[in-house]
Amino acid sequence: MHGLKKSFGSRVAVDGIGFAIARGEVYGLLGPNGAGKTTAISMIAGILARDAGEVSIDGIDIDAGPPARALVGIVPQSIALYTDLTARENLNFWGRMYDLSGERLRLAVESALSAVGLTPRADDIASTFSGGMQRRLNLACGILHQPKLLVLDEPTVGVDPQSRSAIFDLVERLRDSGTAILYTTHYMEEAERLCARIGIIDAGKIIVDGTRAELVAGLGQDARIEIGLGRGEGLTRAVSVVDRLEGVRSVQTLDDHIIVFADHGAHRLPALLSALLNASLVAESIKVVEPNLEDVFLHMTGRALRD
């Protein structure tokens, strides 16, 4: 897909984004709330009309009609189930909507139920399921017709560890079977575990993308230093003091901490503490952290992923 654009009135929600996902690859799309993730996903899945850009799967334009749409499976962020129907009835319905019937439908339903571990509860009404089980059924509805591209919009929000682990395993199995997967999440550890490549989207644009190693290397630093100072005006003064020090690339605030990105971070620690003391600022806590995707995200967007 490339050049995707969408505006709502004067507000530009997605501004010319594009990326490719290979067969058997999981691509993570990370961004703060309101960054344009869901709008982008909606266009990719054919739910929302694009203002510009193209989406194709195996060379087939997503607008080419029902056969093209059948190549995509979507798992919305919210649990999109008919909770007054059983798990099997939900799956039968969605299977038929994707033109499965007869033995093919029966096998697909059994396979999907088995994949998400719901075979024993197949004939129970979905409203009697726990949140985690509903999430798994939500996922099963999206993979039932074996799509070429699977779009997962934060599929693990609010699930128990057991269901989360089951979802991870399933995503990895689908990846290994050759499904291209577009995965959005608020959980950095999910992105680090599952996604071969990651794009960070903010204000409707993909501001950086690459493998985890490429993104971290792009920070040009080997550590970040978190210094707890307590709330109040001290934070602002600390940023001002630290920002002037040699080797400091950037300083940000997060809650009652300042976060310092510096070359050879651990070696800069004595100079940092000395400067703060000279400014009558006392560190309540100090933490040196190896850079990870969270740092990349924070560095690129100025916000933590949970914001």
Partner: protein
Amino acid sequence: MHHAWLICLKDLRQRLRDHTALIVAIVAPLALTALIGMSLSGSQGIRMRLGIADLDGTAVSHAFVEFVQRPWLKGIVVVQKIASRTAAQAAVERRDVDCAVVIDQGFGNAASDDKSKSIEILAVGNAQFALQATRALVQDFLQRVAANRVDQPPVASVTPRSPGGSLRMIDFFAASMTVLFLTFAVLSGVRALQAEVDSRTILRLIASPADPIAIVAGKFAALLLVGLTQMSVMIVATSLLFGTRWGNPLPLAALVATSVLMAIGLTAFLMSLAKNAEQGTAMAAIVISLLSIVGGHFLPPQGLPDIFETLARLTPNGQAFYGFVDLSAAGRNGSIVTIAQPLLFTGVVGVAGSVFAAFRARSALQRIT
């Protein structure tokens, strides 16, 4: 159409699984029809004792007596002949009759000479029903005298406002409860549609290979079938259980169709104004309850000032309901023309409400994507 059919079947399955909706659609209106109809008048309809003091004694005054004793009014208007005005007044005051008319000497000659003619009506203050009914009969007669067509059959359109006409309480309440609960039955389907937007399953539908038109058609077909089934079951059940007369089948079918459309349009409109299914259901329930009061579902029109019926006919449910009442009262003489206004009114409300809701739904979808 394959996808539309799948969506329709799925929606119907969900409706059938909703026991509350089944109770609202069928059980509650049947029970209320039986309770209210039977408790007010059993199945015998309305009876009025009418005293007539014929002081004129001409062919024209005899014609009035025959007019109110036609087979059509048998058992509804019970005539007692009275000798004088004084006796008529006394009979009214003693409640020996519900109302009395005095036909003065010269009435027949005045009619023959095409002069102004009138019939005096006597009633006590609280006999509003009898007074209105008698007035309607007298006016009808005088109009016929003026047109020299006393022997012609009654005109269907005035029947509902006549003293019971051929409309019985059970017919009135069968139509009333059917229309009232039709809106509630359809509301449960519209609520499910709103819930589909709230739960985002609508996104899955849009992302599926189904054509958007098939999605709309499937949803609409399910609502239509729910409404048509509810009305059909009610019509058959009340006919079998209570002997309710619904009138000529062909115009009846047309009015059933536009009434269901009206219920869909009305509830979809109300639901589309809400933020979510819960709020929409609560709001629609309040508005429908208010409309049911203004629409006259609990008040038979006979004996009430015309303003009640006028107000009722300003509401879409009132239009549908009075359409059924008119059709029932007209019996075999009922036609599309008899219910032209209700047909048009309910049809327009149905289409307008549905179109408005469709536009609102489109905006809602844009918000959630």
